[in-house]
Symmetry: C2
Subunit: 354 residues, 2 copies
DNA sequence: CCAGCGGATGTTTACGTAAACATTATGAGA
DNA sequence: TCTCATAATGTTTACGTAAACATCCGCTGG
């Protein structure tokens, strides 16, 4: 019996750093060729049950694990998806990322994270150039498209891309929440409750999601014959919502506010409370996102639920389809939203519609 | 001039799926050997400036990108860290992950995500066995240790591990927030404000973080000569905080509550408000985590700030040190917390201490 | 004037896997 | 009994890179 430690080599360098037994080692122990080990390892047919068992036993004994680098080199694919996103600070990005990771795992893909700390152009370029050397077959970008557009570094050839949370269906495959539909639902909900019009606390100007929510808000109002009040600008943060709320509290004719996300709605609620305006009696507030915490706001927040999990899932399936079929078509897939009724919205001055 | 498309091959299979030019292609175009290309690619000395420029030009022309699979195979390392975590649902995990990704990138490492959807034992085992085939040099586990302990699958040999958010310094290298210190600070702050004692809204029983916060709460109280009230159990969610709050609101002698996280504190605030108990006039509330939103709670929440970024950074540095030096020692690194004073805590019945 | 040195570059080889091809058994049908 | 097909297994080779070693060159110093 061979008494050398598992993974030892007869010839060559004493210390192979970290990497256990190879196919050759297993083959030797099992008394077969390494090709047979390969067949067993990949579950290929044409191996006797007896041989298979021997090989399996040898694998167990040596603690054999396929070397994924060698595999990737041979197969020409990594079975890995890259995810580019700047900062995981927003709830949506995280939920999407989580769904991507889960969905990718289900398809046998690993997920590699490419964080872009600061969303400057340099950082984005850096991420994309790093990407070139990265072991990924495809990339999912969770990022506002203008940053992607401005990137001077081109994507490595052969690396497929799907973009989430953006609108560039003409140049990329895009999966996104139906921002416009959700915003429209929010506005209609408030109008249906009898509010003459709806104010909008928008996200930052450079965000397409914010822009589309604001556009849809405006369109839904004019469609319904209501006069859009001046748009109030926030930056997604609760703090900015608070500041905007102090401002809005001074408008006595403001009875309904659609905040472009739940965090700003939170700040808004605080400001209104401080200024003695009751929600929903004096002012109705609706948010967008449906954070887990939103149900515990004061009062619990009526909001538009986004199905981030579905967005992530569709991103992965889209990108894997592209890998499989070398697909180069573009297009946008929209994931519907859902109105979640809680206690922050109530009847307006005109009374609820029948 | 050669008119074949870049990356084309004279011999062999027509369609090499996705993979551009190789070193050999660059070498041929530049009129040098592939070894020289390798030297240029890795920035090694011993190459004339003139040759270097020629090679670089050829690289650009062919869009050459080093094949990371081949590199990994040759070098025996992947320059990749795996991160195991179940669900990215908690603020802390995400912040830690973000810091890990950023810090890893700075060290030239990529980060691969290993999500464990449901924290069942099977799932954890699955993640660990997938890990064996995964292209990672080391693993950072963000997980309660009891799940790691119960995993029947052993880690692949040669893969270093660092655990965050846990306490297993005797068996693993651990980086964690100083849970006990933070909890002690929270309790002392409330006692200093003149509260006779402090109630505790704890996290779930199976969480070590929750357990340590609860233990420290108890210890700090007895140390100070105060009588610990019965512990109230939550599950980290705002909803559970709300339920607990309804319960606590009925105790007239409850003037100060230390919630084990900010989300439960949020629910607690809502319940107290609903029951007409003013914060901080009637009841003081302190949280733990310092979510970005906590400053916009009603009222803004006094809380214990956790430095997740530091935890992530230390995890990466720890694990890279281990990789470099084959370190097998264990030990725990604690990251200090910081008391963030806002408006949810105020003077107790005994009045603030001098 | 030549040995010898050192810098620049080329050649060989191995990393671990798996496709492609080659070889050896086994058994069925003529 | 002797093909010949077929299944089981072995052998060769290539994937792209980089370490190790080999070669070539010009120049310095004796």
């Amino acid at each position: 019996m061979d008494t050398r430690p598992a993974g030892g080599r007869t010839r060559g360098r004493a210390a192979r750093p970290r990497q256990g037994a190879s196919m050759a080692d297993v083959a030797q122990l099992a008394g077969v060729s390494s090709q047979t080990v390969s067949r067993v390892s990949n579950g290929f047919p044409g191996v006797t049950e007896e041989t298979r068992q021997q090989v399996m036993a040898a694998m167990r004994e040596l603690g054999y694990r396929p070397n994924s680098a060698a595999r990737a080199l041979k197969r020409g694919e990594f079975r890995t998806l890259g995810v580019i996103t700047f900062s995981l600070s927003t709830h949506g990005n995280i939920r999407t990322l989580e769904a991507i990771a889960t969905s990718a795992a289900r398809h046998g893909y690993a997920v590699t994270l490419l964080p872009v700390a600061v969303p400057t152009q340099d950082e984005v370029n850096g991420a994309f150039s790093r990407l070139g050397e990265l072991a990924v077959d495809a990339v999912i970008v969770i990022m506002e498209i203008h940053l992607l557009d401005a990137a001077t570094v081109s994507l490595p050839p052969g690396v497929q891309v799907v973009v989430a949370d953006s609108d560039a269906g003409d140049r990329y495959t895009v999966v996104d929440t139906d921002q416009a539909g959700g915003a429209r639902d929010a506005v209609r909900h408030l109008l249906d409750l009898g509010h003459h019009t709806v104010w909008h606390l928008a996200g930052p100007e450079d965000s397409f999601a914010a822009q589309r929510r604001a556009n849809a808000w405006h369109a839904a109002l004019t469609e319904a014959g209501a006069t859009p009040p001046p748009l109030v600008r926030g930056d997604w943060s609760a703090e900015s919502g608070y500041r905007a709320g102090l401002h809005l509290a001074d408008h006595p004719d403001c009875t309904a506010v659609f905040a472009a996300n739940d965090q700003m709605a939170l700040g808004l609620l605080r400001a209104l409370h401080e200024r003695g305006r009751r929600v929903p009696d004096d002012v109705s507030v609706i948010g967008f996102d449906d954070l887990p915490e939103s149900a515990s706001f004061l009062p619990p927040l009526t909001t538009i639920h986004q199905d981030f999990a579905e967005v992530g899932r569709l991103c992965v399936e889209g990108v894997i389809t592209k890998i499989r079929h070398g697909d180069t078509t573009h297009g946008t897939t929209l994931v519907p939203t859902r109105l979640v009724l809680r206690e922050s919205t109530g009847a307006g001055p005109a009374g609820p519609r029948p």
